[in-house]
């Protein structure tokens, strides 16, 4: 991990983390607003429960405090790459459904998609600093979403956005953990350093 220890790498990591934390905060705020817009435009009940949706990365994690820095980055990257695909699909479906390219919901989805892409980029850069480099993007496992009826698609979209909102909070926490000085944070799992 020689590269990761150099002063310039440390500074770059710190800079990427700080910016990432701010981006995650903005992303979360925008996703929460998007959720309101989505629920309203799609005619859904905001309190409806959505069962775990296949292909949507769940933010829920056990032993979060014991994760290494690299684990955090890898899990975050996998999640945001998946969200990038999912949001792009949602945007496409929304445009098909409404029949026009430019709607308030469409714009909001596009804005969040942009932030998700930017965040994924931040994560890839952080992984490069780990001398590990980001994993190549897998050939898309489920290239098109399962054929769902309109209502199911709407509910799936709700699930996607809710999970993304959770991820945005988790990502800010993950990046803060990365900025904490902790020996061997990128190596084999170390004992939990938070109480």
């Amino acid at each position: 991990m020689a590269a990761a220890d150099s002063p310039s790498a440390t500074l770059r990591r710190h800079d990427l983390c700080s910016r990432g934390i701010r981006l995650a905060g903005k992303m979360r705020s925008d996703v929460v607003d998007l959720l309101d817009t989505y629920v309203e435009r799609q005619g859904l009940d905001a309190s409806a429960s959505v069962a775990a949706v296949e292909g949507v990365p769940a933010a829920a994690v056990e032993h979060w405090d014991e994760q290494t820095g690299t684990q955090r980055l890898l899990e975050n990257l996998a999640a945001y790459r998946a969200f990038r695909t999912l949001l792009a699909q949602m945007l496409e479906e929304q445009q098909e459904q409404v029949g026009e390219a430019d709607t308030a919901l469409g714009r909001a989805l596009a804005a969040v998609l942009l932030q998700v892409s930017a965040f994924a980029y931040h994560l890839e850069e952080l992984l490069r600093l780990e001398s590990r480099g980001p994993p190549s993007e897998e050939a898309v496992g489920s290239p098109s979403p399962p054929h769902l009826g309109l209502f199911e698609r709407k509910m799936r979209g709700l699930g996607v956005l809710r999970e993304l909102a959770q991820w945005a909070v988790r990502s800010a926490r993950d990046l803060r953990q990365l900025t904490k000085p902790s020996p061997g944070s990128s190596s084999a799992p170390s004992p939990a350093d938070s109480p």
Binding site: A59, A60, R162
Partner: protein, 334 residues
Amino acid sequence: SHIQYERVGADVTMKCGSMDWDAAVTWTANGTDIDESHLNGSYLILKNVDLTQGGQYSCYEGSSWHLKYQTYLRVGTPPKEPVLMCRSNNYPKGFYCSWHLPTPTYIPNSFNISVIHGTREMVCEKDAFPKNRCHIRYLQLFSTVKYKVTLTVTNALGKNSTTLTFDEFAIVKPDPPESVVAKPVPNNPRRLEVSWQNPSSWPDPESFPLKFFLRYRPLILDQWQHVELSDGTSHTITDAYAGKEYIIQVAAKDNDIGTWSDWSVAVHATPWTEEPKHLTTEAQITETTSASTSSFMPPPTTKICDKGAVVGSGAVAVCWTAGLVVAAYGILFI
């Protein structure tokens, strides 16, 4: 010994053990004979019992005074729906739930709490103190699955329950900030320096930073002023009214989730004011009639006098008057 629970307002009939209805018996309540008007044969009838009628009831055979039956009567009510609250003041470690009954039952109650997260049943460990409280460690973080907490209260006369459903983020509410200190700033009549500490119950303020809300007002006014601070545990108030005592409080919230804490303990502080030294000196000059005024210094903060910077009784009078006018104007303003 035998305990009998009855509802307030119930009619209670006590039989004297295995004695026949027509046997001659004497009933006592807490050692005092009960009047025969309450008896129906050898049965004791208590109509519309109230809380004061609880106690030890004994039945004795008429002539031999052998104790034939004894019971301890406890009068109470079945439980009303309990009040349940769950909160995480130590995120991300876990959360606690606490409960109470809206009205007392006057008899012993037992509480049972169940916590379900999705399909998983979690154990809420009861606290030794306070009694009506239990805590849970989070096994998962950042879950969208809601928690369902059901509290059941049971006593000898009935049971009742209540359920709370919430998600992980919604119940996060830190304890108020601690060690709030407010101090005047020397030579600054409109400033107060406030500092505080993160609540000690918040386990990891580095990874889970708190943001703060400060409110302050002079004691003589009702309207609060507010400042929200996204980081740091100190703030300088720069618009305090000169010479007025202030009351100051701080609240905390996780930067991203949950709700604001309660307000901290209030602290009081008054901004720095200059000592009115020149008043004493003027009196001294008048008394002594000495021409020596070289030791006198004009009041340091009264800017009107700075230009003059003259030592002498004439200049002193001007300075002092100007200061008085400014002070009077200031009071008028408030």
